[in-house]
């Protein structure tokens, strides 16, 4: 009945010298023995838990016996698991195999090696919640990525697991080879196809994470050394691009090392030493790279964009810098988006163009290269400003309506699409722009605004007071500005509208501070800016 059979009790009693144990006693003792055994095991489990283990050892049992003031059992060390042997001829009889050891052997044996002393190692288990793929951490699940580099494939995740004491960072041989190959390719300017494959592998392979610090170092070094080597720089930037694309790499902690080299490639004085080197292309590429970095990490690393723009604006506004540097800065800012352009380039545009103008003209700048550079810069500026305008036109759907209206009045050409467009744009927009239109354009405006008669009422009282009514609404001022913007464009479109808009400009002068800017933009660039006006509007001009 109990798990301790009474035969066992009899055997044990015989072993301690009681030969005539009555069976009743054995029967009564057996359950008690089991109960005591369980009790001791329960205590032993407590000891095990407090030793932060999940495996019960002989030490724990000793501890439990100690708690009960029982002498511990000697001879059981918890060095390793006890090896039980099956007794021959019995199904469920086991014994511990005690080997006979010759004293002589023990004495003559060399001293065993002293066990290693306890040590403590430190590593990052996670950095802001993300586990770095370092050998100290458990291998991350391999996200199977179709990679071309079959030679190096996925070996990386199964990094050698042994933790040797003094080694700070274990880089497997495969990774070292990989790194060497890639750097060789980049530096050695070998054939394009191979480089492309390498870049693809960089962009897709998992398990490259341990190499990231090496790559960042490599890039920083090579950029600072090889500023005159155009193909190298371009290759390096493409490496950066690939690394950024790799979904398995957590590159954020290394950005601060990477950014200086990237920015260098954007605004350096000279990139490449031959005239044939198309460093403009490199700058464009880098500008896009920078923008993509900002877009991706700007949120987590929020000083990134502000610091970057600061650097770029500094480069842009310093007249002592060369035009190539200016070009890079402008491209960089432009790539960051229209709002950056609006905030940082446009206010400085006029003064800058004044500066640029002498460089542009044939008679003033004889050096053809310099002139070419100046035109490049001019083009970049134009592109940036134009993009900015284009963006604004897209953001405010109300814009198209003023444009046709002003045109409508001057050259009586009614475009049937406008009412439709208006209808669509009526709901989201505020009442201001059309009403203003009405107020200024008089009866024509009225007829036009028939789809939305409500607006007439609101706008009727005082045209000049419109913005005062909703002074805080930023979108109002923005749309105002864009109206005058469109005015500005119509200026260029034909003489009549120019006259009209001149009048309008006077009317709205006080409110349209930023609007002025865009007018001036037109004045600065002339007709060059026109291609940036969205196509529907353009069609109206023609």
């Amino acid at each position: 009945m109990s798990i301790v059979p009474k035969e066992n009790i009899e055997v044990i009693s015989q072993s301690i010298g009681i030969n005539n144990l009555s069976p009743d006693v054995a029967l009564a003792l057996a359950p008690d023995v089991e109960y005591r055994l369980r009790e001791i095991m329960q205590e032993a489990i407590k000891c095990m838990r407090h030793s932060r283990r999940t495996k019960l050892t002989a030490d724990d049992v000793d501890g439990a016996l100690n708690l009960r003031n029982v002498e511990p059992l000697y001879g059981f060390v918890s060095g390793g698991p006890l090896r039980f042997k099956k007794a021959v001829g019995h199904r469920d009889l086991f014994y511990i195999d005690d080997k006979d050891v010759d004293f002589k052997d023990v004495i003559e044996a060399p001293l065993p090696k002293a066990p290693l002393d306890t040590g403590l190692l430190c590593h990052w288990l996670a950095i802001e919640g993300v586990q770095p793929a370092i050998p100290e951490n458990a291998p991350v699940e391999v996200l199977t990525a179709p990679s071309d580099g079959k030679k190096y494939e996925q070996k990386d995740d199964g990094l050698p697991v042994e933790l040797k004491l003094p080694v700070k960072h274990v880089l497997s041989r495969e990774l070292q080879l990989y790194f060497d190959k890639i750097t060789e390719l980049v530096v050695g300017r070998s054939d394009d196809i191979l480089l492309k494959k390498a870049l693809l592998s960089l962009a897709t392979d998992s398990g490259l994470h341990p190499l990231v610090p090496y790559f960042t170092c490599f890039i920083a070094d090579e950029v600072s050394r090889g500023l005159s080597d155009y193909p190298l720089l371009f290759a390096l930037m493409r490496v950066v691009h690939s690394l950024l694309q790799n979904p398995h790499i957590h590159i954020e902690p290394y950005l601060h090392q990477l950014m200086p080299s990237v920015v260098t490639c954007l605004v350096a004085k000279r990139l490449g030493n031959r005239f044939a080197d198309n460093h403009w292309e490199l700058r464009d590429f880098t500008a896009n790279l920078v923008a993509s970095i900002c877009k991706r990490f700007g949120r987590v690393y929020n000083t990134l964009q502000s610091r970057l723009t600061k650097t770029l604006v500094n480069a842009f506004l310093d007249p002592k810098r060369t035009l190539t540097q200016h070009y890079g800065a402008i491209q960089g800012l432009a790539a960051l988006g229209p709002s950056v352009v609006h905030l940082l380039i446009l206010p400085n545009l006029e003064s800058y163009l004044r500066l640029l103008e002498p460089e542009l003209l044939l008679e003033k700048q004889k050096n053809e290269i310099k002139r070419h550079e100046a035109w490049r810069v001019y083009g970049a500026l134009l592109g940036a400003a134009g993009q900015c305008i284009y963006d604004k036109l897209k953001i405010f759907p109300t814009l198209p309506s003023p444009v046709p209206q002003s045109l409508w009045k001057t050259n009586e050409r009614i475009v049937l699409t406008t009412p439709n467009k208006r209808k669509r744009s009526v709901e989201p927009m505020e009442q201001q722009p059309p009403s203003k239109k009405i107020a200024t354009d008089g009866p024509t405006g009225l007829t036009n605004s028939s789809p939305s008669p409500m607006q007439v009422d609101t706008a009727a009282p005082a045209p000049s007071g419109d913005t005062n009514k909703v002074p805080s609404s930023s979108s109002t001022s923005l749309s105002n500005e864009s109206i005058s913007n469109s005015r500005g464009r119509s200026n260029g479109a034909d003489a009549q509208s120019l006259k009209k808009s001149a009048v309008l400009n006077q009317v709205w002068k006080d409110e349209l501070n930023s609007g002025k800017l865009l007018v001036s933009l037109f004045q600065l660039f002339g007709e060059d800016i026109l291609p940036f006006i969205p196509a529907p509007e353009m069609s109206l001009f023609l």
Partner: protein, 666 residues
């Protein structure tokens, strides 16, 4: 002819039991009764014949229980889970009745035949009961004794109750009826049966009766934070400091990217250059997070009941500085985790502890030694900061020298049994260790010497914890008491007695007026430090409690057990907010982040898990008792490389430190 005999017997049997159809019998699916109609296995025959002799004896228990069981399993779905709850208490009382009457053999067969039903829910209780083999054991064993003494409360709806009684009467299961009357206290509620989800708390067979627990939980507790705490002072000066800091940050950011290699914060006590870099990144995110962080609804303030030690001003300054630079953690901003791995411990490490700034790591070993590593000296050579200046380089070298070889750690020897726990005081200049030799020892990290040996417990001291302000400490022991001590007295100030088994872990409330203790009796208790009274009993765990943590706002408590479940408790109501399921093995350690938005748990399953507690603790507050529908979210599981996590600590700047032992065999 034997067949006939059997047939006759069976018919008689049916008559006796008041059953009409053999089919019904067939449903009652125990092997003893169901099969004989069709087969005539000699064994079964013998068993059946044996019934006639044991008509009123122990066989009745088995028989009636089997019928009750099969009836319950075939009952209506809607009411089944309620009726199932009745089975377990009936089962164990049947068993104990059998034992008490001396039918040991029958008790064993009975136990084994139905054991599986309850293994899932009550494995540990069953393991205990299994050992009960004689009436004297019943008396001796506390668990069994308390079971016999107290009644089990079961909530049941009107209809289920009627169904049950009807069945028992109709089937003339008088034995069962007797047991149910004697040991179960039905709380019959009108209306629909309760939902199956609160099954967990339905049957807690506890030593202490439910009523007394409820009564205790009525007591008022003040869970608010201390008046004039450093945090509060920080909030006061916060605005001012924040502005100046921002300005500072601006100027620093203006320097451009290239020369950013230098760390922004020189003063961090982190050891390595690596860490300094980290801090830079951390401070960057911190600056971003700060403005958005809404001011937390401030917890009520309470007066300290203990005289608190005075903190030196320079230390206070450095703590304030740390608090100002604290990273705001949330579900979106997870902490960085620095992991300290012990190697070559040869299975000897029992516990580890990390100082508040993470610069010191202590390990308690089963060879009675305590070893302390100074992280500043490990890893890359780095500039020692002010805070670490006090860690006496000279003396530690002296100790190392006297021991011959050069050790990377300081060895503290003095205990005469395995060291089960160690704790640093908030400043990191003292360590307490508790051991199986039933003493607690105070060590100075400055002098590298044992200062005091506190003797008071009679059995191994499982856990010792410094209070959040230092000076006071609490200990938990196998002698079923927890004790409060102060550093300057060798006698305990208070003894908390009440747990029914070992007190396994202890934790201070953040306002120092309460301590919580977790025990092998599967309860967590909260004690008033001043009066020494038990003010809360938290019932709900299914196994031994291994770890406790208090939220910084003092409102919640988390407890982790042997099975890997973590429970979050609301201190004021004494209820479980939500259980956190996810770990598969013992939860060794728990830690709340500095502002209380995250809970980190470390387990024997070699993972650190991060839980979002803001989402879920807020919800139940709003909808009050509408149930724990919202589960706490497990944000992230960070697996380690076969390293069970022994201890966790959030630094004041919310960097998470973890420690564990590399175990090769896992």
């Amino acid at each position: 002819m034997e067949e006939e005999k059997i047939q006759k017997f069976i018919q008689d049997y049916f008559k006796n039991r008041g059953l009409k159809l053999p089919e019904e019998l067939q449903q009652s699916s125990t092997n003893t009764v169901s099969s004989p109609v069709s087969q005539f296995d000699p064994d079964v025959v013998r068993q059946i014949l044996a019934f006639s002799q044991f008509q009123d004896g122990p066989a009745r228990y088995q028989d009636e229980y089997a019928r009750l069981r099969s009836w319950t399993y075939t009952s209506l779905d809607l009411y089944r889970h309620e009726l199932l709850r009745v089975l377990y208490p009936v089962f164990i009382h049947c068993f104990m009745d059998l034992v008490a009457k001396g039918h040991i053999q029958e008790a064993r067969t009975f136990f084994n035949s139905f054991r599986e039903d309850h293994e899932m829910m009550h494995l540990r209780d069953l393991q205990k009961l299994e050992g009960v083999l004689s009436p004297s054991h019943l008396e001796e064993m506390e668990f069994a004794h308390s079971l016999r003494q107290s009644k089990v409360n079961i909530k049941i709806c009107q209809y289920s109750y009627e169904l049950l009684l009807q069945f028992l009467h109709k089937s003339q299961s008088t034995t069962m009826l007797g047991i149910i009357n004697e040991h179960i206290n039905f709380q019959v509620s009108p209306g629909q049966p309760s939902s199956i989800t609160d099954d967990a708390e339905a049957v807690t067979l506890m030593g202490g009766s439910q009523e007394s627990a409820n009564q205790i939980n009525q007591k008022e507790i003040h869970w608010g934070l201390l008046e004039d705490s450093l945090e509060e002072r920080l909030e006061k000066v916060g605005g001012m400091a924040l502005d100046s800091e921002r300005a500072e940050g601006e100027t620093k950011e203006g320097e451009g990217d290239e020369n950013k290699k230098k760390s922004i914060e020189g003063g961090k006590q982190g050891a390595s250059i690596k860490k300094q870099k980290k801090d830079k990144a951390v401070s960057a995110t911190m600056k971003s997070a700060r403005p958005e962080a809404t001011p937390v609804p401030t917890a009520p303030r309470v007066k300290p009941e203990l005289t608190l030690p005075v903190i030196p001003t320079e230390v206070e300054q450095s703590i304030l500085e740390d608090l100002r630079n604290r990273v705001q953690l949330s579900s979106a901003a997870l902490p960085s985790v620095s992991f300290y791995t012990f190697i070559n411990t040869h299975n000897g490490l029992n516990c580890s502890s990390i100082s508040h700034d993470g610069s010191l790591v202590a390990g308690g070993f089963s060879d009675s030694s305590l070893k302390v590593w100074d992280m500043a000296k490990i890893g890359q050579q780095s500039v020692g900061s002010d805070l670490q200046g006090e860690n006496g380089t000279a003396s530690s070298e002296q100790v190392a020298g006297s021991n011959g070889g050069k050790r990377p750690y300081t060895l503290f020897q003095g205990h005469s049994g395995p060291v089960y726990s160690a704790t640093f005081n908030p400043l990191g200049d003292f360590i307490l260790s508790s051991s199986a030799d039933s003493t607690i020892r105070l060590w100075s990290t400055n002098l590298n010497a044992n200062l005091v040996c506190y003797k008071g417990h009679n059995y191994p001291v499982w856990d010792v914890q410094f209070s959040p302000v230092g000076h006071y400490f609490a200990s938990a022991s196998h002698d079923r008491t927890a004790r409060i001590w102060s550093m300057d007295r060798i006698q305990p100030l208070r003894i908390m007695a009440g747990h029914l088994s070992d007190v396994d872990c202890v934790q201070w409330h953040s306002n120092c007026n309460y301590i919580a203790t977790g025990s092998s009796d599967k309860t967590v208790r909260l004690w008033d430090v001043q009066s020494g009274e038990c003010v809360r009993i938290f019932i709900g765990h299914r196994s031994m409690i291994l770890s406790l943590a208090m939220s910084p706002d003092g409102r919640y408590m988390a407890s982790g057990d042997e099975d890997g479940s973590i429970m979050m408790w609301d201190l004021s109501t004494g209820r479980c907010v939500t259980p956190l399921m996810g770990h598969t093995s013992c939860v060794w350690t728990l830690a709340f982040s500095g502002e209380g938005s995250l809970l980190a748990s470390g387990s024997a399953d070699c993972t650190v898990k991060l839980w979002d507690i803001t989402a879920s603790t807020k919800l139940p507050k709003a909808e009050e008792k509408s149930g724990s529908a919202s589960r706490l979210r497990s944000l992230k599981t960070l697996p380690t490389k076969s390293t069970p996590v022994y201890s966790l600590r959030f630094s004041r700047r919310n960097l998470l430190f973890a420690a564990g032992v590399l175990s090769k065999s896992v």
